[in-house]
């Protein structure tokens, strides 16, 4: 457990393409997921920028109507299936989860590798769909549009299907890992909160994703054979498709936000150097969100022809999600109380999320409300709402988490000042982009519109400028991280002073993670870890020196 143990580590003990591509090491798979999501983020982000530049002024600026329709579809599909869903669970989760549990690997390393390969195959299929006619259905694939358009829906649908199975296998792996691989002494309530969040996420992944699988297969069956279950021309019911689709896709929103909440719990506690406030409430609220997330999908169907009775039930259930979400936020803020707060990039991201999730979560009150949703459904208000949740909360937490675990992944420190600066720029750019969109929505601009009336022009212009700011900031954040690999200072095993187990192994870890079984304790008790020096980072202190009383008690017991 000292710094020179890092001479042989998981990054350099084997080299070559095959040693990465065919690896069974959860850390290597986690990194590959991370690079893949970064690449996909740049792709999806450039689609977003093209969209925003097209909307800079009314009418055609850059692309045609049809190209615009392809762009927003692909932006959604790439960002959701290739970036956000695998971001924290598959990338950070793969790297961190076994380390946090003091385990050598996830329960099923081969399935873990299969899961990454499926992700790649799915990504290739999506790209293939772009090359063979594109996709203009919207990422929601609503029938009968998706069954009648002449774009490459079948290939795209198979791509999403394969990625769905990648997600299922990751979830299956994590659940088995958490159940069966915890070290002796780590009870459920001594697990770090990120593990709870990943557990809740995995439950959603395994329960909901299969339903997306069948919904997508049925779209393919409609297109290839004309089966007609969703086709009104044959007596089918298109609203049934929406039920099947949202039974997955609403819980999927929590696949995006729940792990982000887990990351936030780690960040707030570590950077406030304080025990997380209300551990068990945060843990239970993750499980509560996971379960409730399954019985709220109908709020996507308030105006789609769903019956009034069912809409009312769904509205009531939807409002209950607000309660566990609020509990989490209150507990994070309370964690900062009487802490010792350092403004690292991770902490700045976490604090940004309090603001952004505040907006994203609270605007959910309007969407869940039967009266206001009737006006706001399918407008820019919704667009802004879910970007605040899925980007403002999930992706900001992801980037915060990447900065937090970066020293552990690569054994180097990134440039803190630059990381913090560009995170703040992206935060400002984000607000500039999406706050005006709430106004566009209430004032009457529907979503997925290529063209708009000049009265929305100045709002759209502000939004586009903000988007350019985000684009620049995200690029600079990546650049800062990339540069640190070459120029960064060597990281100590525990640069932040966190008490979770992953900080007990070397930075970067050895191929088998822990040379000796780590000591399991309270994951948020930081009182026995103190800062030594930049080279050695934080080290555990002798409890006797810290508090002689403890030693007395122990010696008398012995």
């Amino acid at each position: 457990m000292n710094t020179h143990a890092s001479s042989v580590n998981y990054l350099n003990h084997e080299t070559g393409f095959k040693s990465w591509f065919m690896t069974l090491d959860h850390k290597r798979l986690g990194l590959m997921y991370m690079w893949s999501t970064f690449a996909a983020m740049l792709l999806g982000g450039s689609f977003a920028l093209l969209l925003r530049f097209e909307l800079f002024s009314p009418g055609k600026d850059l692309v045609s109507k049809d190209v615009y329709n392809h762009l927003f579809t692909l932006h959604g599909a790439v960002m959701i299936f290739l970036v956000i869903i695998p971001s924290i669970p598959a990338a950070l989760g793969n790297f961190v989860l076994p380390l946090m549990l003091g385990a050598k690997d996830v329960a099923f390393p081969k399935i873990n590798r299969l899961s990454y390969h499926l992700y790649l195959i799915g990504a290739v299929l999506l790209v293939l769909a772009i090359l063979t006619g594109g996709l203009d259905t919207g990422w929601t694939f609503y029938t009968p549009y998706s069954t009648s358009t002449d774009t490459s829906v079948v290939i795209a649908v198979f791509g999403a299907f394969v990625i769905g199975f990648s997600s299922i296998f990751t979830g299956l792996n994590f659940i088995a890992t958490i159940h069966k691989m915890r070290p002796p002494g780590m009870t459920w309530f001594k697990m770090p909160l990120l593990c709870w969040a990943l557990y809740a996420t995995s439950v959603i992944q395994i329960l909901a994703t299969p339903v997306l699988g069948i919904a997508l297969l049925l779209i393919a069956a409609e297109r290839i054979m004309g089966v007609g279950i969703f086709d009104p021309a044959l007596g089918g019911d298109p609203v049934l498709f929406q039920h099947l689709f949202w039974f997955y896709s609403h819980p999927a929103v929590y696949v995006m936000i729940l792990p982000a909440m887990g990351v936030l719990s780690e960040l707030f506690s570590t950077y406030s150097r304080k025990h997380i406030f209300g551990y068990s409430f945060i843990a239970y609220s993750s499980i509560a969100i996971a379960i409730v997330s399954f019985i709220v999908w109908g709020h996507h169907l308030y105006v789609s022809g769903q019956s009034a009775l069912v809409s009312i039930i769904f509205s009531a259930l939807t409002y209950t999600v607000a309660i566990p979400s609020a509990i989490k936020v209150f507990n994070w803020v309370a964690t900062m109380y009487k802490g010792s707060i350092s403004f690292t990039t991770g902490m700045v991201s976490a604090m940004s999320v309090i603001w952004l999730f505040g907006i994203g979560g609270l605007t959910g009150l309007w969407m869940a409300n039967l009266s206001t949703d009737m006006h706001l459904h399918d407008t820019y208000f919704v667009v802004s709402h879910f970007h605040f949740v899925m980007v403002g909360s999930a992706l900001f937490s992801y980037l915060g988490g990447v900065h937090h675990w970066w020293p552990k992944m690569f054994g180097v420190m990134y440039d803190e000042a630059k990381g913090r600066f560009w995170t703040i720029v992206s935060f400002l750019g984000f607000n500039l982009t999406f706050l005006p969109q709430f106004l566009m929505g209430t004032r009457g601009m529907p979503r997925r519109y290529f063209d708009y009336h000049p009265q929305y022009e100045y709002l759209n212009k502000i939004s586009t400028i903000g988007a350019a700011m985000i684009g620049l900031a995200v690029f600079m954040i990546f650049w800062n991280l990339w540069r640190s690999l070459k120029t960064g200072k060597k990281a100590s095993p525990n640069p932040w002073g966190a008490a979770t187990l992953e900080w007990q192994c070397a930075s970067p870890p050895t191929p088998h993670n822990f040379d000796e079984a780590p000591a399991v304790g309270d994951p948020y008790d930081m009182s026995l870890i103190q800062f030594k020096s930049d080279e050695e980072g934080y080290l555990p202190i002798n409890p006797c020196e810290h508090d002689p009383l403890i030693c007395k008690v122990e010696s008398t017991e012995a």
Binding site: P210, V211, L234
Partner: protein
């Protein structure tokens, strides 16, 4: 994977064989859960159409051959029995018996698919298909029905005077029938591959009374395929 490990049956990241067996079996059950949810989408489609058009389902079900369905149920139950027996045999170290029992399971599965093929081809020739299929006799407009089925199909006379909406919904029934049994059939085919793989590993001597997780998990998968058929059979064939 660590080659220096003393016990080759134990993967490097597990502490002991019991933990490994437990984890594998747990993972298999979680996978079965996803399979159930995977089928659930089609069951939901079935339930919505059946509850809204009970008369259509009752009518359409008469075109399915109950006897073939019952025989297939029995065949699948037999294969489930031999699969469960194979687990017992591997627990007792009866290597050759395991091979034989898995072989019988595969044969039963092939028999199931053969009967399924008979049913499918019969439906195809008679035009008992979803409404959009070229040969279907359930097209909304009777004039669109292909002349070959009109002249040679045995069931054309029964359906030609139905109300257009009734015809359309009968087409939907067959759409659901083919999707459900088709997806189930794909699972049977995957099961055949799985069983053949297990047979090969068994003959290679991979399994022992201490380590037989793969056979146990394979059998679990096979039982689930059987379980789904137990529900499909009355839901599709036995509507009176």
């Amino acid at each position: 994977m660590s080659s220096d490990h003393h016990d080759s049956k134990l993967a490097h990241h597990f502490d002991d064989l019991e933990q490994q067996f437990d984890a594998n079996k747990f993972g298999m059950w979680v996978f079965l859960l996803t399979e159930i949810l995977f089928f659930s989408g089609l069951f939901v489609a079935y339930a919505t159409y059946r509850s809204n058009h009970p008369d259509v389902f009752q009518y359409a079900s008469q075109f399915l051959d109950t006897n073939l369905g019952a025989v297939n149920t029995a065949v699948l139950l037999l294969s489930s029995f031999t699969a469960a027996w194979a687990v017992r045999a591997v627990q007792l170290g009866q290597k050759n018996l395991v091979t034989t029992l898995l072989g019988i399971t595969v044969l039963c599965a092939c028999g199931f698919m053969a009967i399924k093929y008979m049913e499918y081809s019969h439906k195809y020739h008679e035009g008992l298909l979803w409404g959009n299929a070229e040969h279907s006799i359930f097209k909304e407009n009777t004039a669109d029905v292909a002349s070959s089925v009109r002249e040679h199909g045995h069931h054309w006379g029964d359906v030609k005077d139905l109300d257009p909406e009734f015809r359309r919904q009968t087409g939907i029934f067959f759409g659901i029938y083919f999707c459900l049994t088709g997806l189930h059939g794909i699972h049977v085919l995957l099961g055949i591959i799985l069983m053949l793989w297990l047979m090969r590993r068994n003959m290679r001597g991979d399994f022992s009374p201490e380590k037989y997780d793969a056979v146990d998990c394979g059998a679990l998968y096979w039982h689930l395929v059987d379980l789904i058929w137990i529900f499909l059979f009355p839901l599709l064939y036995l509507i009176s």
